[in-house]
Symmetry: D5
Subunit: 92 residues, 10 copies
């Protein structure tokens, strides 16, 4: 089941630089693992912004919540979430 | 070069039903042709809405304009356009 | 899987009264059938408005789309859709 | 009398972690008590967000105010409040 | 139980003038009757606008819905509804 | 001359608790004095929010400014101000 | 007593041209009369827009309402109204 | 003196096609003439939209108003106007 | 050349009181000087708010920028800027 | 390929003045270098604001991202990005 998620990153400028670097590294590792496992289907940067457009392929809403809630940068992220369905004009 | 485009369809309720059916059929044909040719990379329905999330892979801004401007339903579409770039955490 | 849906009804004031009455009657029948079948879990009126708050219990995003798209009043409805998950403080 | 309440949690990132943990624990206890007593009728998580959709069944506006005002996390919550009424298409 | 309601009137400019005059007259009669009966507690014009601020004193949300839904101009009104409670600094 | 004023209170969470308690006490005293003197005509709580709806009866705009500017909590208040006039459907 | 009023003109494109010309002429005459009488203190065009910024000097809110309500173009105007007071840094 | 102007075109779908074609042709002629005369400095299409970003170089606000007001499509255009000044980091 | 400027003051509550008092005094002196010199044509307080409506009469956009940029409170001000032109209904 | 970018600068008022001066100097140097190299085509100040309108001429979305991401003030900038295309009414 697909969900489009736009994430905007808002890390406070006074966050400890080491804490920040650690969180960003963990976020990268987390993103790569979920891509390899097939749940994080697409991950694109919004050109010119600290933001991304992602598409997730998860079992249900519960799993979507779990995946997003456990993002290492979760406290600094704003989400716009859109449930997706098959489009009648899409190729099979 | 990738662009995310959210399209919302607002066909006036007093549009002639035959004109409408014709436009919708042409839109479908147009969408399928661009998907086969590789420029319309993804096409998902927003669940529950007359709207979609599309990703286009085009040569440049000029071609993006041409592709959208020639949509048969163009006069009845609202677009939100986001240029995309490669994300540093995306798998190769 | 639960979704909260806020629906606002915007029927054009120049819609033929008989067409309107027919659509409203079909909408009621449709809503009652889906409630009996268990997919339309809750349906509350927004006090003072031509709008409602609904909770749907559907198999997945595809079914959510199908249920909303087939509402007899669909062309005149605005939707705000929120995927729901279990809350850790909710009683079992 | 029913009210739908959307709550978004905005705890400042510099809040003392012990104070925070204590408030969150008290909030959970408070939510469970009001659910057992029947005033907090529904409590769902917004999938992927630190937010919930709740439905309260209270005697009147005064009691609604009292219930929300006494939430342990009240200073960090944003509310969107909608008075609900019976819908003519709802099953009895 | 008190509710503040801001009403903005948007009568289409092509409404038949006699129909309009009739609706406005009925609206006035309705407003005066509810004021006499004590449910429409306050009614003020927004200076310079076709809009008003009203305070209703009704038994519950169901009655609030009934009162607003039956306004003769209901199809042309936009409502902003706020449930009110006693303020701790208000004089008894 | 009547003005409706919606006030939303936004006291920073790091304000010294004694300073805060002192300001809140002074605000209450100020509100009660102006109610007794007849300029603060109505004061209602927005149910569930740290906000109120007030109606002031003042000599002119200058006095409205003076009354609001001198609120002890003024630096932490957001105002939405609406000049009111007599409504043609209001009872005398 | 001063009020700043921003007016935006939205005349429907299908209004009868003669009716429109007549309304615009009456609006001009009305504006000039109130300027001569001293109540319409300033009237500036928003450069590039069918909109203006006006300052009125009226006795009270009732008179402000009367002045705006009687504008010949009233049904096609949107107003943003701001009560003004003397600024402490303004020259006498 | 420079002004950035974003123009969005909203021609009603029921406008007579000949009238429309005539207006669009006149708009093009008008735009080309002002470009040749040096007042319409830049004119770019918003990729994918019926909208443009223009930069005008005019004598003053009066002339800006005159230039925009006389656009053949003026009744169907929405403007966002920004006065520009020299940037301290711009090359001479 | 006239510009309407709405200024909203947002001084952080933790600004050093002496620094603040000094800035406010310099702002007053600056405003009075520009009024005497004829560039700051009007200065009104928004009744009940820490905000003002000003009208400036300056040579061009460059000078408008210079005047606003040099306001002692500039870092704490939000501006809404509107270029003005002569209105055809204004008295000479 | 052209992109219009509106940048608004929001430097926190508690940023160390030397750090700030250093960043602003580096930003200026960076802007001048990209202008000389032809990628930063236009750079105008929004009159009266700490903001600019820029037009970039870059190879593709990837390069746009690189150029903006490396702005020394990037963490304090808000961007509004618009892909541009040739306008049919623009002179060659």
């Amino acid at each position: 089941m697909l969900f489009a998620v736009r994430m905007t990153v808002r890390i406070p400028s006074d966050l400890n630089p080491e804490v920040r670097a650690d969180l960003v590294a963990k976020e990268k590792e987390y993103a790569r693992r979920l891509q390899r496992e097939g749940e994080w289907l697409h991950l694109w940067r919004h050109a010119g912004k600290y933001a991304n457009l992602s598409v997730f392929d998860v079992a249900d809403n519960e799993r979507l919540h779990e995946v997003l809630w456990n993002l290492p940068l979760f406290p600094y992220l704003e989400f716009e979430i859109t449930p997706l369905a098959k489009h009648p004009s899409a190729l099979a």
